[in-house]
């Protein structure tokens, strides 16, 4: 995908919310910097940028507003540094890319995502189809869905870190924990398939 303002590849995918509408902005690194500066109410007022001249904070402001945090830069800065326990994505990275890092982010950033999702969809409650197979017995709390399985993402990261500091004891513990979760969650039909294979 190309940048919306030049021919360079778009690397930043920003989801903008304005008056209940969602708009996706795709920009190269350079244009994204100008755009985001401007969004934060910074100095970047170059003409030709999307929404130039709409006034301070017209972009980041709506996002921050719909995120339910105060308008101050300090509040946003604190929020931006928070990160997911599983995949490690920071809220800042999510804001920039408009893409989450892993399924656990929906729980980790629940408070912040709630108003954002309400704004996008006009709803915060899924009423559609559900997986027919519930959370396996003993594999976790049904109320948090498949989050028990998503815990593997954090364990995998921990295992890698342990290996890099040559802490093989911890790495082995993490590996065993991963295997236990995988076993508990393996769908019966998949298990049968793998045993036959």
């Amino acid at each position: 995908m190309k940048c919306q303002q030049c021919d360079n590849p778009a690397v930043f995918h920003i989801t903008e919310l304005e008056a209940g509408n969602v708009r996706e902005v795709h920009l190269c690194e350079e244009h994204a910097r100008v755009y985001l500066n401007q969004s934060e109410g910074g100095e970047g007022g170059d003409s030709g940028d999307p929404g130039a001249g709409e006034g301070k904070g017209s972009k980041g402001g709506t996002l921050a507003g719909s995120l339910g945090v105060g308008q101050t830069a300090e509040d946003l800065a604190i929020l931006d540094k928070r990160c997911c326990d599983m995949c490690g994505i920071t809220f800042f990275e999510f804001r920039n890319q408009g893409r989450l890092g892993c399924p656990h982010d929906y729980l980790q950033f629940e408070k912040e995502l709630d108003p954002l999702i309400a704004n996008i969809h006009g709803a915060t409650e899924h009423t559609g189809r559900r997986p027919s197979r519930p959370v396996p017995a003993g594999a976790g709390d049904a109320g948090s869905g498949t989050d028990g399985l998503t815990a593997i993402i954090g364990l995998r990261r921990g295992m890698k870190e342990a290996i890099s500091r040559e802490d093989y004891e911890s790495a082995k513990d993490a590996r065993d924990a991963i295997r236990a979760i995988e076993d508990a969650w393996m769908p019966p039909a998949a298990k049968a398939g793998e045993e036959n294979a």
């Binding site: 892993c102 996008i120 899924h126 769908p187």
Partner: protein, 358 residues
């Protein structure tokens, strides 16, 4: 390689049949799904992507989804082949341009496609000819249910199916129809119609064109929200608006024939004339003229051209298709080759056009 067999056929969704296929080119439903145990694609390491791809490829192969599927390793495909799949709408541009392990499973009729490691781990798509949203939805449900037996989709009781972008969360469903609306464009009513669609939160996108610029009067209408309503309700939301648009377009076509018969006949004939005689022609102009000829065929102003032929030409005159059809000949430019292909086609000596009509 199976791609070469695709070159000489056209997808089922292009055959130009099915309800209201004079206006509705195709009906499509797609579902976004992710495996609970891996990071979303944009956050995944190379290893994560490879693992996700392997798990999905193997498990999908192990269950019957109602169709025999062929798997294409998009990560190791040449650029022209990736573009070829984009032109056939079997993969997205983003999927073609992405990095790392990824692939697509498609059925022989090109109705079902399963993209692995696009923005989400799995994007299931069903595409039917004409207006058949319910048929596409019934088909995709079977595919989704079968795969769900052997994987754990990331799911939360309150948020529904968890997706990389919050704009898809919940049902993960995108319901769309591709419409051919030349008369609404000619009579300059199209913007008015689309403004009213935005009010009921449906998205409108031009087809084939880069960005939002429509090419050849083809437009895609789709739902914008995915959470808070059931899949059936979201399918119905799009299904409800299509008859209204069909009615507008039909009335605009009637108006053109009634009030400006000579003018329209002239426009259509000129378009047909250029397509049959041009020595060099761009992709954009080809689309535009094919669109007019398509309307001419439907209004009975051009007799000897089949709808499925026009539909197929819309795809086959795209750059990657042309390049594959002409094989190794790199000497002539795309525009010259496109004109040659069109002339040859309309002279009626083209075996491929007969093959495409089945």
């Amino acid at each position: 390689m199976r791609l070469d067999t695709l070159t000489n056929s056209i997808g089922e969704w292009l055959r130009g049949t099915g309800p209201d296929s004079d206006i509705v080119m195709s009906s499509r439903v797609r579902l976004a799904r992710n495996l609970a145990q891996f990071p979303f694609v944009s956050r995944a390491t190379e290893q994560d992507r490879a693992d996700t791809e392997r798990v999905l490829r193997e498990r999908i192969a192990a269950v019957p989804v109602g169709r025999e599927l062929d798997y294409i390793d998009v990560g190791h495909l040449a650029e022209i082949d990736r573009r070829f799949l984009v032109e056939r709408q079997l993969i997205s541009r983003e999927h073609a341009d992405a990095q790392g392990a990824r692939g697509v499973a498609i059925d022989r009729l090109e109705q079902v496609s399963l993209m692995i490691n696009e923005e989400d781990h799995l994007r299931i798509q069903c595409m039917h000819s004409g207006l058949d949203l319910h048929g596409a939805w019934e088909q995709i449900k079977v595919v989704d249910d079968q795969i769900e037996r052997v994987v754990s989709y990331a799911f939360h009781p309150r948020w529904g199916y968890l997706t990389a972008c919050p704009t898809n969360v919940g049902t993960g469903i995108r319901v769309s129809v591709m419409l051919h609306l030349p008369a609404l464009v000619i009579t300059r009513q199209i913007d008015k119609v689309f403004r009213s669609l935005h009010k009921i939160s449906l998205a409108v996108r031009g087809l084939y064109g880069e960005g939002s610029q429509a090419m050849g009067d083809f437009y895609q209408i789709s739902n914008q929200t995915t959470l808070g309503r059931t899949e059936d309700e979201l399918v119905q939301q799009v299904a409800d608006v299509v008859p209204v648009l069909i009615d507008y377009e039909r009335r605009a076509r009637d108006f053109l024939v009634r009030e400006t018969q000579q003018n329209v006949h002239d426009q259509v004939s000129r378009a047909y004339g250029i397509l049959r005689t041009a020595q060099t022609i761009s992709n954009e102009e080809t689309m535009q003229l094919l669109s007019r000829v398509r309307m001419g065929v439907l209004l009975g102003l051009i007799g000897d051209v089949k709808l499925s032929d026009i539909n197929s030409l819309l795809i086959r005159t795209q750059p990657a298709h042309l390049q594959k059809l002409r094989g190794g000949d790199e000497d002539s430019s795309d525009d010259i080759e496109r004109a040659r292909y069109l002339r040859h086609h309309f002279e009626g000596g083209d075996s491929q056009s007969r093959a495409s009509a089945n």
